[in-house]
């Protein structure tokens, strides 16, 4: 036994959906699949390579192991979490080629959405939400759930972060951030089962210069940046890479701009939605960079952020916006309904200095504006 372990090769071959790759021993199935990329990569909602101990919980990354290894080619009886299972030489894995996996994954997606409020139209995460992507890819058009969803009160954890527990999928990533990045752990999971919640104990503020990274690791809109809440849809903003000399962090960020205004600052993300690494170190950013440097002049701009062309963010026709032709009057025989909110109107938000607003941008701000103008004309 001991001899076998010593002889284990440094690089092992694993076949995922009929594609073979060679990876270092000790790599997980998920990371091997990421090396192949594309559809073969299982979705991962809780695993986060930069957070130790993460993964294994959400079960979206389940795969079938059709052969354990070359030495022991027996299949594994259960589906396994690819993010927490290491590859063996000669392992054969089925992801999209396995009906069992597709069936189980559809089940997991249904479970994850069961109590989710589906309030994407008012959620700041919409457009960059991993649960949205997962739902589009693996979800059904309707739910079979006929009961009230569980609800929680919104909670402020500190002056800059808001917790919207209704949207949380309990991936535990933020608790690992609190554990591993911040020096004083005050954030964790209270209660259990479907009544478990992410919280600080008795609404204690999280007071730490790196706490903002929780927002970046949260796959859904449960943790949001209070300085950005309701200020804009992400697809109306223009992401640019920028840096500054920061004494506390790497200072490499993405600025989410509208005109010259900086609406939001985040860490830079890789193609899996994780914070990028520099020199092997995760590029977490500090709260000063994230929340306080909201002027373009604070930053050295590097250039536009590369965004996957399938992302809705790259669909945001920021430049050369074309206003679509209004057709309602035509099809309704000349009737002109009173619109509650004209989205094209709202997208003309440059009229307001959003970053100057003390809180969230609400319809109130726009109302006062138009009221003012209408008052003037009267």
């Amino acid at each position: 036994m001991a001899d076998e372990i010593k002889k284990a090769p440094a690089a092992v071959k694993v076949t995922i959906d009929n594609i073979t790759v060679e990876v270092p021993a000790g790599t997980t199935i998920l990371n091997a699949a990421r090396q192949i990329g594309g559809d073969v990569t299982p979705p991962a909602m809780c695993y986060y390579s930069k957070l130790e101990g993460s993964g294994g919980k959400c079960r979206t990354c389940l795969v079938e192991v059709a052969a354990g290894s070359a030495a022991d080619p027996r299949p594994m009886p259960k589906l396994v979490a690819s993010c927490r299972t290491t590859v063996m030489d000669g392992m054969v894995v089925k992801n999209i080629t396995s009906d069992r996996v597709q069936d189980a994954r559809a089940g997991v997606v249904e479970f994850l959405l069961l109590n989710h409020p589906l309030d994407c139209p008012v959620c700041d995460q919409a457009g960059e939400c991993h649960l949205q992507d997962l739902g589009y890819e693996h979800g059904k058009e309707g739910t079979r759930y006929e009961f009230n969803r569980r609800t929680f009160e919104k909670e402020d954890i500190g002056p800059t972060i808001q917790l919207h527990m209704n949207r949380c999928i309990l991936c535990y990533r933020c608790t690992y951030v609190a554990d591993q990045l911040t020096d004083n752990r005050v954030h964790g999971v209270l209660d259990r089962g479907d009544h478990a919640q992410i919280s600080t104990y008795i609404s204690k503020a999280i007071d730490n210069n790196f706490s903002g990274n929780m927002i970046d690791v949260c796959p859904v809109g449960a943790l949001t940046d209070k300085t950005f809440r309701f200020k804009n849809r992400v697809w109306f903003t223009k992401p640019v890479d920028a840096h500054r000399d920061c004494p506390d962090c790497c200072g490499k960020v993405t600025l989410w701009q509208r005109g010259d205004e900086v609406l939001r600052v985040t860490a830079r993300k890789d193609e899996w939605g994780e914070v990028k690494s520099y020199d092997g170190k995760p590029g977490w950013i500090c709260n000063t960079c994230r929340f306080e440097k909201k002027k373009a002049s604070d930053w050295t701009i590097e250039g536009p952020t590369v965004i996957n062309r399938h992302s809705v963010i790259s669909q945001g026709h920021y430049l050369n916006k074309q206003q679509p032709k209004e057709t309602i009057q035509e099809v309704m025989g000349g009737l002109k309904p009173r619109l509650l909110m004209d989205i094209h109107e709202v997208s003309e938000v440059n009229k307001l200095e959003l970053s100057e607003l003390p809180g969230a941008a609400t319809s109130q701000q726009y109302k006062t504006n138009s009221n003012e103008s209408s008052n003037k004309t009267v």
Binding site: G55, G56, K57, C58, R59, T60, L62, K78, L79, A81, R84, D103, A104, G107, V108, E110, F111, L112, L114, N115, R144, Y145, F147, I169, L170, Y172, G188, V189, D191, R192, G193, D194, H195, A196
Partner: protein
Amino acid sequence: MGRKLLLEKAHVENIRSYDVYRKEGGYRSVEKALKTLSPDQVTEEVKKSGLRGRGGAGFPTGMKWSFLAKPEGVPRYLVVNADESEPGTFKDRYLMEFIPHLLIEGMIVSSYALGSNNSYIYIRGEYAWITHILEQAIEEARQNGWLGKNILGTGFDCDIFVQRGAGAYICGEETALLESLEGKRGNPRIKPPFPAVKGLWGCPTVVNNVETIAALVPIINEGGEEYAKIGIGKSTGTKLISACGNINKPGVYEIDMTISVEEFIYSDEYCGGIPKGRKLKACIPGGSSVPILPANLLLKTAKGETRMMTYESLADGGFATGSMMGSGGFIVMDDSQCVVRHTYTLARFYRHESCGQCSPCREGTGWMEKILWNIETGKGKMSDIDLLWDIQRKIEGNTICPLGDAAAWPVAAAIRHFRDEFEWHVTNPQEAQQRNYGLAHYADALAVPVA
């Protein structure tokens, strides 16, 4: 009359005290093991005895012990699982409450075999008074030289500590138990690594049930081979069964695994039959997590053989027509019981006890509970039954720990065997509020194919 190895002396007056226990032959196995056997020889005896884990899964104990990693310079731990929270199971409580020294004695021998110098008992929080009983027993054992440094002059040191849980069923799952014992939130760990390699404080650890460890005493006293002679096939030795429900004599019974289920329910030595002349409808033979069986499949297997109180016979037919020995919580239901209501009660339990780490168990258990409540209260739809089936199917096997499976199995088995009772609730919502479905055909003779 079957043989009793564990509870034989449980009713001797004052057996709880060290002096009486010792006079009745207590701690002989420690003397024998420490003075005449090497640790490996003790493990060898356990292997020979064929002892299987009494906590639920029935894994061979000797084999489990031989998997324990033994790296140089790293401590190893024995942890006794006394969390006993499975509905229907109350055997460990009986053993610890009435004859606590038996557990302590078994632990010293096991600790010797495994090389554990600090061993732990993780006890269910609600068993507050038993904690005191155990601590007193430990103190007595220490004062009489069975615990502490250099036990019996053999150079072996051992101490035992009791840790109370805080009222979570999930902390009976061995890795959740270890987390809780380390002072953390009791979330099951993702395996591998298994406790045998990385357990308590990251060190190699064996987790065993109370009854498993207590069985070490007769195994060492009589020898593994003698122990293995009791029982049938791979079900060796004696097993504690906690019987409850509609029976004349609920309680904890020690059986040698040679009797039939029918004898266990109806004989005066054990449950003493069903009260008020009612009829047997169904039974959950091994604690709430194992599949429920209707009367006809309980007394006879699908092959028409008599079902015995053994690991193999109770599991005969797989989940299609069989069940499991589980933790020995034997719940009997007569014809006045409603299977839908029972299934709802269990679903509510699992919803409440899920730790909430993994999505299928966290969300699925609550969903099943709500649907079952609808069916039970006359608001169910026919499609709900298939939906329940689909939900349990999507939980089972897809979770981190077996609690997900344990929540799925009772629902699956109830629908598998009692589907017409569910349908009757849906089609007769009003009547179902007033009366129970009754015995129906659940005790009818099985159509056994003529070979």
